[in-house]
């Protein structure tokens, strides 16, 4: 499909129209200067922020930290009612890495039968991404194949051309949206298309960090001895689980019953992390993964080795959020650098 042009002045009016058809979620800067994805209730009051990377990803919208699965009542009239809630929602302003992460979650939550709750929300979602002309401080999506612009996977993709956005659709729902609100858009001409292409090229040269993902993935595939790496990282790890919680592709969960009174309560699905010792500890106290080293190992190998074997690509999308969040510097960029710096006996010859 051909590209369209949306004048920047028309963005808020368009979003206002879109919001009338359902929920709108977009990055918003709050009064403390933090940018987070939020449900937009009032476009005039909430400060849309397309300049900074949102601190959180879209994960909590499809897979909330505390997700009610069912309510239970064990009084005389025993009951157990599943909870499913979803409404049509347009997500605007997510970045290519965030979108790639959602596509990855689609794969994870469709294993062993589609996850009812996840797909209820997913089917109601329209994803409008915004390519990154200027990648952020810790971004390396160019090396994980998840940005700074995407060629497919989005419903709509916006490219910032200065005073307007270049808009392209990849999925039918995106095209429907463009048709429904067609009077906001004008067709892109050859010049616009060239400008868009230039923006994509320039963005690729604007990365501030060089992170050699592919060499690390290749090295990991050969099962090198990484004991010193695990040791160093596990000593630095403070076991807070922040990396897993902030990661847009970490989807481990646990299920708990939370009593609200003696006779009733809710069953919750809660975020969990494979780096927690309780994640694998068995009822008798035995833990097959006993050391912090092994927990760290599992997390990093899952992202860069096991998922490569299973799905053909790493499940790190290069968003760099784990770099920002970690107290001890146990992040993907450090890990990749350590793997690449490792002197391997086979290569010394």
């Amino acid at each position: 499909m051909k590209g369209l042009i949306l004048k920047k002045d028309n963005l808020v009016p368009l979003l206002r129209k879109i919001r009338k058809g359902g929920k709108l979620v977009a990055p918003v800067q709050n009064r403390h200067g933090d940018t987070l994805f939020e449900v937009i209730d009032d476009l005039d009051r909430q400060q849309l922020d397309l300049e900074h990377q949102a601190q959180s990803s879209l994960k909590p919208f499809f897979f909330p930290q505390n997700d009610p699965l069912a309510t239970y009542n064990c009084a005389e009239d025993y009951s157990f009612e599943p909870v499913v809630s979803a409404e049509p929602t347009v997500y605007f302003g997510l970045r290519s890495c965030d979108l790639t992460a959602v596509l990855y979650m689609d794969v994870i939550f469709s294993q062993n039968g589609a996850d009812t709750l996840y797909f209820a929300r997913r089917k109601e979602a329209i994803l409008i991404s915004l390519g990154c002309n200027q990648p952020f401080a810790h971004c390396f999506c160019n090396n994980t194949g998840s940005g700074p612009f995407l060629e497919y996977g989005f419903d709509l993709q916006f490219t910032d051309l200065g005073d307007s956005f270049y808009v392209e659709a990849d999925r039918a729902r995106g095209e429907e949206l463009l048709e429904r609100w067609s009077y906001f858009f004008t067709p892109a001409d050859e010049d616009d298309r060239k400008k868009q292409y230039q923006a994509v090229l320039e963005a690729r040269s604007n990365f501030r960090r060089t992170v050699h993902v592919d060499p690390a993935v290749k090295r990991l595939a050969a099962d090198p001895d990484l004991q010193p790496v695990w040791r160093e990282l596990s000593d630095r790890c403070q076991d807070c689980g922040g990396c897993a919680y902030i990661c847009p592709t970490c989807t481990c969960f646990t299920i708990v019953d939370q009593p609200l009174a003696e006779t009733h309560g809710i069953r919750l699905r809660q975020w969990d992390s494979c780096t927690f010792s309780g994640f694998t500890r068995m009822a008798g106290g035995h833990n097959p993964v006993n050391h912090a080293e092994q927990a760290i190992r599992r997390r990093f190998l899952h992202k860069l080795k096991i998922d490569v074997e299973k799905h053909g690509r790493p499940s790190c999308v290069g968003c760099g959020r784990c770099v920002d969040i970690c107290f001890g510097g146990v992040d993907m960029i450090r890990f990749i650098a350590m793997v690449n710096d490792l002197k391997l006996p086979a290569e010394e010859k």
């Binding site: 630095r236 708990v256 107290f327």
Partner: protein, 538 residues
């Protein structure tokens, strides 16, 4: 607190947390920083990444100790001989800072004479540390351009806690590692607002801002503001109250504290609380202490109130109400004001900002702290004397608060209790990463409680073998004060003869066992050392 107040003139962390990341040498003593103060530990990690060196002095091989250039795994309760020995070695190598000592300190001769009299080899033996390692540590710290010392409850929770702190201060002054940026002595405060509580005079002998109740001018000022005569005598310390048997005080109002799990020798605490004529408890969740209360006030959580917290680096920061108080709960200030009114004292504030204005008026170091100034920033660090004062990044710049820093030499003191034939083990207590204090909050959190569901007693593999003990076995752990059941964890974190566990768990209330011996000056109990015996439960 008392220790640093005597030597430097002010009892708080001299640095900002950020400065720790820029020191060349960091000495951590009596602090399991990675578990108890992760935000400080991250600065230590960044310093190490830059090439700084780390010395850890701790009886346990903690995660931080494993990363240290030198780990002195000394015998608990021997901090003073060990630090004195370090100072002697620094003197012998001529690594002390003559000019600093001459211009900025007093009473050096007394310290020097004491150091020259002691025998380093003997002190190393007392501390059970190889002399060669001590020598290396002395050289590392002594030669540092910029060195900081971080300490925590491993220093203060001893019978000689105040002397321990003064000895640390001696070491810093001896080498001139105070008064300058990126150098200093940093007591790490554990709770988000324990510094603030002390600042506000939640100590027996002072009004807000560490102004002594014995000072007549100060008392007159507070009397004027509050419209009541105020006592000139210091109040009681916590153990005087919770171990008083209901005789020292007849009624108590306990806010956000759970002495029935956190104070030593719990039998005495229970006896006291049960004998009170009246007990009121205010907390956000039910606690062991609240079960004994005549009245319980449901308090609002941090998310339901507006006000300030003061953290370890003296930084006063705003918290803002995010949600309305749930159910019948009310904010702490609401509860206090309503209670005061019922007792016949008209205490009315329209907002916490008004309370802050009173604090600024009466507390010189908080003189420039107003909500409107704090609202738009990451907070201000005291001392901050007036509206235009920018706050203070590190203390004692060019001059100690008391004028000159005072060397206060201290000698080794035996702990209140030592292992013997009947109680052969030395038991230390502390915290685990996943729980906060008595677990009133964290044990209600599903994931946190799953991560650390029960108390574990760390025991060295050598001892475990001689007791034919397997990890996970249940034990009877006894001291002269009582017995509890606890699960064993075989771990090389503790040396042979040592045991370690935490006090978070009501199922294994370790403070039934701990010793109420306390520091004569600060009255801080000796949680870190008592003699214990073990028995397998068959």
């Amino acid at each position: 607190m008392a220790g640093l107040a005597t030597t430097f003139g002010s009892g708080a962390m001299t640095n900002s947390i950020e400065e720790i990341g820029r020191a060349d040498v960091i000495l951590v003593i009596g602090s399991n920083t990675t578990e108890a103060h992760p935000q400080v530990a991250r600065r230590i990690f960044s310093a190490l990444d830059r090439g700084s060196r780390l010395i850890v002095i701790d009886p346990r091989r903690t995660a931080l100790a494993r990363r240290a250039d030198i780990h002195l795994q000394h015998r608990p309760g021997t901090d003073i001989p060990l630090l004195n020995c370090l100072m002697r070695l620094i003197l012998d190598d001529n690594l002390h800072d003559d000019v600093f000592i001459e211009h900025r300190t007093e009473n050096f001769n007394e310290l020097r004479d004491m150091l020259y009299r002691l025998d380093p080899t003997e002190k190393a033996a007392v501390a059970n540390v190889p002399p060669a390692q001590l020598k290396k540590a002395a050289e590392l710290y002594g030669r540092a351009n910029k060195a900081v010392i971080c300490y925590c409850l491993g220093i203060t929770q001893h019978i000689c806690g105040t002397d321990n702190v003064q000895t640390i201060a001696n070491l810093a002054m001896l080498t001139g590692n105070v008064e300058k940026e990126d150098t200093g002595v940093d007591p790490l405060r554990g709770q988000n607002n324990v510094q603030g509580a002390c600042d506000m005079g939640a100590l027996p002998g002072v009004f807000p801002g560490y102004q002594a109740v014995s000072n007549e001018a100060v008392r007159a000022e507070f009397s004027g503001a509050w419209g009541r005569d105020l006592p000139a005598e210091p109040g009681l310390t916590i153990l005087d109250m919770t171990h008083g048997g209901g005789k020292t005080v007849k009624g108590m109002f306990i806010m956000g504290e759970n002495p029935l799990l956190s104070d030593p020798t719990l039998e005495k605490v229970r006896n006291t609380l049960e004998n009170l004529e009246f007990l009121a408890v205010s907390d956000i969740f039910p606690t062991e202490t609240a079960e004994l209360a005549h009245v319980v006030f449901p308090a609002a959580s941090f998310a339901e109130k507006t006000g300030t917290f003061t953290n370890s680096e003296r930084r006063v920061q705003m918290v803002r109400r995010a949600i309305e108080p749930i159910g019948e709960c009310r904010t702490d200030s609401d509860i206090i004001c309503a209670l005061a009114r019922r007792l016949g004292y008209e205490m009315n504030y329209e907002s916490s900002a008004e309370i802050m204005e009173e604090i600024a008026l009466l507390t010189p170091v908080y003189g420039g702290m107003y909500h409107d100034r704090l609202e738009s920033s990451w907070g201000l660090q005291w001392p901050c004397f007036n509206r235009s004062h920018p706050g203070t990044v590190f203390l004692h710049k060019y001059n100690f608060a008391r004028g000159r820093g005072c060397f206060v030499p201290a000698a080794h003191q035996m702990p209140g209790e030592q292992p013997d034939e009947e109680y052969p083990f030395l038991l230390m207590t502390g915290r685990v990463y996943h729980h906060y204090h008595t677990g009133a909050m964290t044990r209600a959190g599903n994931i946190l409680n799953r991560e650390s569901p029960e108390a574990l007693l760390e025991i060295n593999p050598v001892d475990a073998e001689s007791l034919t003990l397997a990890s996970g076995e249940m034990l009877n752990l006894a001291t002269r004060r009582g017995t509890i059941k606890i699960r064993a964890l075989i771990s090389e974190q503790v040396a042979p003869g040592m045991l370690y566990t935490s006090f978070h768990f009501t199922e294994a209330p370790i403070n039934l066992l701990t010793n109420a011996a306390s520091d004569p000056k600060a009255k801080c109990p000796e949680y870190k050392i008592c003699a214990a015996q073990l028995e397998k439960i068959n």
